[in-house]
Amino acid sequence: MKFSEVNKPVKRVDAYEKVTGKAKFGADLFFPNMLYGKALHSKYPHAQIIKINTEKALTYPGVKAIITAEDIPNNKFGVIIQNQQVLAQEEVLYIGDGIAVVAAETKEAASEAIKLIEVEYKELPGIFDPEEAAKKDAPLIHSELEDNQVVHHRVRKGDVEKAFTQAEVILEREYTTQFVEHSYIEPEAIIAVPYEHNSLVTIYGSIQNPFSCRNAVANVLKVPLNKVRIIQNHMGGSFGGKDEVISSMAARAAVLALKTNQPVKMVNTREESILESYKRHPYKMKYKVGATKEGKLVAMEIKCIADSGAYACQTPFVTWRSVVQATGPYELPSVKTDTYGYYTNNIYTGAMRGYGSPQIVFAQESLMDELADELKMTPLELRLKNIYHNNSITASGQKLDNHQVSLEEVIAKAVKASNYIEKYIEYNKSQLGDKKRGIGMAVSFRGCSLGAEATDAAGAIVAIQRDGSILISSGLAENGEGLKTVFSQIAAEELGVDIKRINYMEVDTSVSPESGATVASRSTLLGGNAVKNAAQQIKRTITEMIADKFKVKSGDLVLRNENIYNKNNNQKIMSFDDAVDLANKLGVFLSAYGWYKAPDISWDEETGQGRPYFTYVYGCQIAEVEVDTATGQIEVLKMVAAHDVGRAINPVTLKGQIYGGIMMALGYGIMEEVEIASGYIKNTNFDEYLIPTIKDMPEIIPIIVENPDPHGPYGAKSIGEPTLELGAPAIANAVAQATGRRIRHLPLNLERVLLGHSLSKGGTKNDIL
């Protein structure tokens, strides 16, 4: 298939404003009479609030208003379960809970005033371990609930007990992962403007999901959705992170803006951001696998416990993705999987790129290497004996029959590009000196888009202006990944015009069609189809208009290279501009709403059987490392990443996703951990919470594999999250080969590699079994 705009390395449509500093991010906006908001956070991870006295603070020069939970019309919100407090009412449940928010004429006044707010607490004992929270007699984190369980998901397939009796080799292992911070470089920023353009309140800022933010703010204010308008700005990274924390900030700012009748701007410092914003879930994972001596898997039993922290947030859906994908892409006749989420008084956990997959992929891919060792087989052989192919049946009983199951292809390509087979043999030989090398692989399958979590549909508006320039608006928001560029390419492709004609508008919830959120690596697939649908409607309008006038068949007309041609004789009928002029004269409407609803899916919550996702992507990453066994230092030398994306709409932005995902996975694998001791967060800025710099960057070889999917626009599927879920286990497997020791706990920091246990909180000598 030949394309003119898609499948090409088109330059980003937002590049110019970003290289010149003209791009406006949330904190860059200023409004007349604007006040600055600042939140006072809790002093304890768990405490009763006896009294809040704001009198002194109110007298501080420049202070205009202070709000507490009493001032919030509806203090609870949440996307799935509405139990997150906008401001703590009777109890603080985690260290980042807000107590009060000040609005003042200057940032300094707001910062000084919060210090004058007097809060009387009664400190309460907290629960900081989800396994403690799970105990029957555990105190309740949310007193209105019967227990501390947020959710429990199951997958039941075959008879696991019986299957284990038939297994010739059985392995039982436990793996754990850590709290991780998104580390978007732009801290959260929100501005609430009252009574602007017929809306009660307009919210600007770094908002990942404008519609979920609108739901939260309208709910908190107890007003209809059409009174709250959210306009997204350029966003300095999100990775799943600017959702509930931003909704909470937006709600606080909105209440203050309405109370003062002035715009209120709130911008977090990095410390506030790390203290307040939700993290990636730490998991404890127990895996039991049974296999024949020949290496055929016969059964798997899995139990995963996720720490949800103080609130439910996205835990119900995060753990759901985990339950669907927990076995990895391996054929198994018998599976029993349970995933749980529990409330604790730790910082709450939510969406972060990968969304419940990086944890289980770390466990399952470490396990496969351990099993291969046990069976005296190479990791590659064991995987090839068990991976999914076309028509395989997943643990959920789904037959993979509607797309190309390309695991073998991605593995073959990654193996070749990394020289895996030779290097694996070489590094298995004894290595001289302190520095030892290893090579490791990880593979995965990943359901595209939301799956059975929620209704899955998206919309877009394509509007041709009088002069032939084009506006696009969709309900999905650019998060920095290149969505505006990809959507513009799709519209240009369908209309046969140059992408320069197109201007992609920021999401405005009062104009753009509600499309769910830019999450779950769904935007190209869902939103791309919606843009395509809108552009196709306009194309039909144009061809019918011309057919009518020139007495040709509309089906014979094609739009390409800025012109309309008769495809039978390749003759140009008119230019695109002339067609727009004609439409103007005839009064033909050249705008359209596009809509795309994902194919049907199903899920039985009791058995975990059904069709949880309508299609999947497949990936394989291979890591080559060098470990200094004298210091514990890991250097990742090379990462090869082969991903089947269906179709690359833009190979350059796509590779950006691969590079970025790999570096984030590298951080997850060997350096990042939000250190939490009894609910207190110890590392609250980038001097202590270390993320990879360019000096940590290995050689990265991205391999794009294209097996077009019948459902995707031009066959395109997903890339954002798959790139992140494989790196840590691939590195862990490489480190195990290099050192001969298996580390089952992330991150693989210096102490764990050198001493076998972590020196920071949570690490024990039992880290290595």
Binding site: R12, H182, G237, G660, D687
Partner: protein, 167 residues
Amino acid sequence: MTKLIIELTINGKKKKVETTPSTRLLDLIRDDLHLTGTKEGCGKGECGACTVIMNGELVASCLVLAPQADGAVITTIEGVGDDKGLDPVQEAFIESGAIQCGFCTPGMILAAKKMLEENLHPTEEEIKRGISGNLCRCTGYQKIFDAIRLAADRLSSRDGGRGEEDA
């Protein structure tokens, strides 16, 4: 609070600004001069988002107090490139696809520009060192690296055609 007036040349323009002894240069640039291309990411000199060039040196403007900038010559991202066009580093960032969310981009471009002003033939290690103080969470750095390499190649070939590869 004590007020004082400082004078500085920013992006080629002389400015007199009223400020306080404790105001950070970053806040003066963003809040008083409304040059919001300079970003705040950490407030601790760790992330490089607030990078500007002051008196020929790269500085984290969150760590400089406004009075320290009295009499200084400062370049922010708004001063890179001109009416005629973009700076070669900016162009290379666009062409290499080195931009994703764009929040680190101004600091990255200034750091890259400064490095290339001093060394038109940076090695791989020198490029990495040149932007090792700038964090990026989106790109994985690879395309930023590629962009700097591209800009270096172009600038060095303009610079009398020496342009030898020394990566």
